[in-house]
Symmetry: C2
DNA sequence: ATTTATTGTCTAATTTATAGACAATATTAA
DNA sequence: TTAATATTGTCTATAAATTAGACAATAAAT
């Protein structure tokens, strides 16, 4: 990425994406570690070009980091406290990374651009974790899935952003049939139930969960899935076309 | 208001407020008519100072136009299409208001500031219409309550903003007990029911509505309200302290 | 053939929501 | 003074939805 202060972005406006996946019976969130000395973690984010819809910008950011698009993505909240800026983060970063400075001083334009107060629009995305190969950008040392219960401490308010995104996910899960975006194309009822249990962090009764999901009338039943386990094989389901 | 391009606002970011009231058995929205030649209506809105939380900015805007604060106010959506700007509106305004130009040209800084693409954060507020005396600012010719079913055609996407605000109001009405913000301090059950009916634009059964509301366990019953009508006098209620 | 763990589904019990009914009552009309 | 009228408050009956309990079906191991 080039110096954003030289690009045609809207100033002081950013987008932060909470990209949810599901693996290992747990909700996962895509987090990148910044490619600098020091342990700086951040949500995938970016800025909005002057001629770009904010939804398109969020899609672009999602595509950059996951290689996929046309995925469920929705804004959920705007984080706009006056004190919300990169000052502390950037000073810590520069202190640990003298190569960023010229004769001891950071690039002034870039520093000024970054350290202003930012209003950030939070988007959350739901992806099939098997379809995503997380992509580093040149500011990333790594980008990885983290169990939502075991996230690293991230910069600024990014941990709070994840928390708010989870609230929104829970609120909208049923109404917008969001859960199936997190599963593979075909799945068993047990997998769907475990996903619900991990999202809401509470158990569901098996018999009634199955009824509730089937009563949605959005799934079609496919062949059985023989797992080799010593019991009745479950059916596979997928969303009706 | 001074030329906003000379003030310390965040650029290209605005706030638009959908201020809901309730009167005449109908939801009402506060709309101002701009103090220029031509019929330009707009939602109360404004910009965010560099050192101001976005929630504080929304509160300030609300207070400017209604004289009240500490009222229910919440962000509900961000409107951020790339094509979202004041260009058409401002050109129409200038064409009808030659006094805005100097030697046929508008103030360039102000014009440039206003005609950029704006990302607008939508807030909705719920007020007791009896406590509000709508306040003109110096850009307003008038500011008035309009029946939500009979709003004027407003600038840019303000009519769509109201529509989205109403969706959010309906979604959150029960969960956050929002309705009582729209009523006077004391009210009858019938008034509460009529409010619900106007918000959802559908009838509620009287017996079950009363049960539902009382089962919320948030109201206390006061004395009867003698209206002079030839029938049993209804009780007054208010929110428990 | 028997055992085991899990799945799919049925029915019963409980809770919640909706509909119907009626007594209470503030005023008007007789 | 009494009856009529319109509306309010609340009760009960019915219907619908949710939750809990039960059991047959079955894939593989014993």
């Amino acid at each position: 990425m080039h110096n954003p202060s030289e690009q045609n972005f809207i100033q002081q406006l950013s987008i932060d994406c909470v990209i949810f996946g599901y693996d290992d019976n747990q909700l996962q969130v895509l987090v990148n570690k910044l490619n600098f000395n020091g342990d700086f973690w951040a949500l995938p984010g970016g800025f909005v070009y002057q001629n770009e819809d904010i939804d398109k910008a969020a899609n672009r950011i999602l595509h950059e980091r996951t290689g996929i698009s046309e995925i469920y993505l929705d804004q959920f909240y705007v984080f706009g406290n006056a004190a919300r800026n990169n000052l502390n983060f950037l000073d810590a970063l520069i202190a640990l990374n003298p190569q960023m400075t010229i004769e001891g001083k950071p690039n002034k334009e870039e520093y000024d651009w970054f350290t202003k107060r930012f209003v950030s629009i939070g988007y959350y995305a739901l992806v099939d974790i098997n379809k995503v190969v997380p992509q580093k950008t040149d500011i990333d040392e790594s980008i990885k899935w983290y169990n939502i219960k075991d996230l690293p401490h991230m910069i600024i308010d990014h941990n709070a952003i994840v928390s708010k995104a989870l609230d929104s996910l829970r609120l909208n899960l049923d109404e917008k049939l969001l859960a199936f975006n997190l599963l593979s194309e075909t799945f068993t009822m047990k997998e769907a139930q475990q996903l619900y249990e991990s999202i809401f962090d509470k158990p569901f009764a098996r018999n009634n969960f199955q009824k509730k999901i089937l009563d949605l009338n959005v799934l079609e039943r496919l062949e059985k899935k023989f797992t080799g386990a010593a019991n009745k094989a479950p059916f596979l389901y997928r969303i009706k076309k």
